[in-house]
Amino acid sequence: MAETRLMTINMGPQHPATHGVLRVVLELDGEVIVRSTPHLGHLHRGMEKLAESKTYHQAIPLTDRLDYTNAMGNNFAYVLAVEKLLGIQVPKRAQYIRVMMAELQRIAAHLIWLGTHALDIGAMTPLLYTFREREDILRIFEEVAGGRLTPTYLRIGGVSKDFPEGIREKIKAFVQAFPGHIKEYETLLTKNIIWLKRTKGVGIISKEDAISFGVTGPTLRGFGVKYDVRKAFPYSSYEEFDFEIPIGSVGDVYDRYIVRLREMEWSNSIVEQALERLPKGPIIAIDPRITLPPKDDVLTDIASLIRQFKIVSEGFQPPKGEVYASVEASKGELGFYLVSDGSNHPFRFRIRTPSFANLSALSKMIEGGLIADVISVIGSIDIVLGEVDR
């Protein structure tokens, strides 16, 4: 009888299917995973430390680089936390613009996920389709904010600039065409026998375990748990929009796929509703201590020039206290916990990222399964290492 022993293999950090620089050490008995150990930190940039030495305005561009597929959503969570700390109100128009941008960004993030996840499993065509629609969204971002991947569009108190001429027609054209595109993706995957065999019944853990592992977002909703920050703690007028939370049943990779597809449809519907009802008015709160004065005033009025200089160089001093504000980002609950000691920079800048908690459940999901399923489970959790490592 031949001796049998476990084999250890190293997956990553440079592996196309780990979506970044994740390293997982797998101990295998044949093709079955006995034990897995994820190693993080390859992309650790010390963002929490860095932000402690910056003013509150200066930290906004840092947040773009957390989950770089969901930059608008990251800005959103951060500015909400600062606004909560300051206790300021955001104008209705700015709230609606934020919601539209966040939902378009969610669609774009889910499109990247769908394309790369399908590519990992072996279906190449969806990637070419999804990046086509993602490009439309990035073009909209470019016109609205001036940037594509890291637009840094949101500001404390509102947004940086109003919609340009003609953008409403472009967004309208996108939301009208998009449901048809979702049908295209579904034709390729939803009833595809290879897709079903690779995703059905893979990566299942119990609902209680998922909650214990702190899993949030579409991954948690795949287990049939109806937790969505947009409904649980509505922010930025989300309570005024009509949308549902899609949920799955068993929580396998296939359920997460279905949940994300339905979520894109609802996001599309939210953008459409916001576009129809977009209120008129200012796009940023007028608070001389916090928001920059209009550029025309800065060029013509000495008081505004001094104000601009003081805000840019010194920032502002929020009251002492601690707040936590979170949004439903594309991966799950993204929250910022800010502790202020009354100075112009945060005393503690804690980022609660969804991918970090979701990834902690990875070992539980893949142990006892086959090595080929690791790829589809990692893809289905939808991690971005930029926000796992921070």
Binding site: G214, G321, E322, Y324, V339, S360
Partner: protein
């Protein structure tokens, strides 16, 4: 708010001497508790049938250098039953350790490793207390207030020797 009041009431009934302070800021309730009872309080909040704080949204460290006790540990809990958040805070000294809540919420495993890595807070009964972000053999804890932003020695290469 009613549900949070219920939580506070229940905590006061059961752990009267361990609740140091209850504060509300911008509608968020923070309960400061003593370090010794933090595990029992967490266990109670998690398993009590009326409260059911089943989701540990976040766990992180704080450094109050040069105050003593030096560190703080913050638990942010969420109850799906009552749709309510609760923040539990405690203080821990530089040479002390704090009980791990890994046996209550599994996600605490990684959160506590992170606090250990970046602050140097030690957790008792943690199954696998290793660095998570930085490499083994790294000296220092970057999120401490006495750790410079640009690193301890700017001229030294910031990579491990191979």
């Amino acid at each position: 708010m009613a549900e949070v009041n219920l939580t506070i009431k229940k905590l006061r009934e059961k752990f009267l001497n361990s609740i140091l302070e209850v504060t509300t800021f911008r509608g968020e309730v923070t309960v400061t508790v003593t370090k010794g009872e933090v595990f029992e309080i967490c266990k109670f909040l998690h398993s009590d049938s009326d409260l059911q704080y089943r989701l540990l949204t976040d766990l992180c460290g704080l450094d109050f250098f040069p105050q003593t006790p030096r560190f703080g540990v913050v638990y942010l809990l969420y109850s799906m039953k009552s749709n309510q958040r609760l923040r539990v805070k405690t203080r821990v000294g530089e040479t002390e350790s704090i009980p791990s809540v890994e046996s209550i919420w599994k996600v605490a495993n990684w959160y506590e490793r992170e606090a250990y890595d970046l602050f140097g807070i030690t957790f008792d009964n943690h199954p696998d207390l290793r660095r998570i972000m930085l490499w083994d053999g790294y000296e220092g804890h970057p999120l401490r207030k006495d750790f410079p932003v640009e690193g301890p020695d700017f001229d030294k290469p910031f990579v491990p020797e191979v």
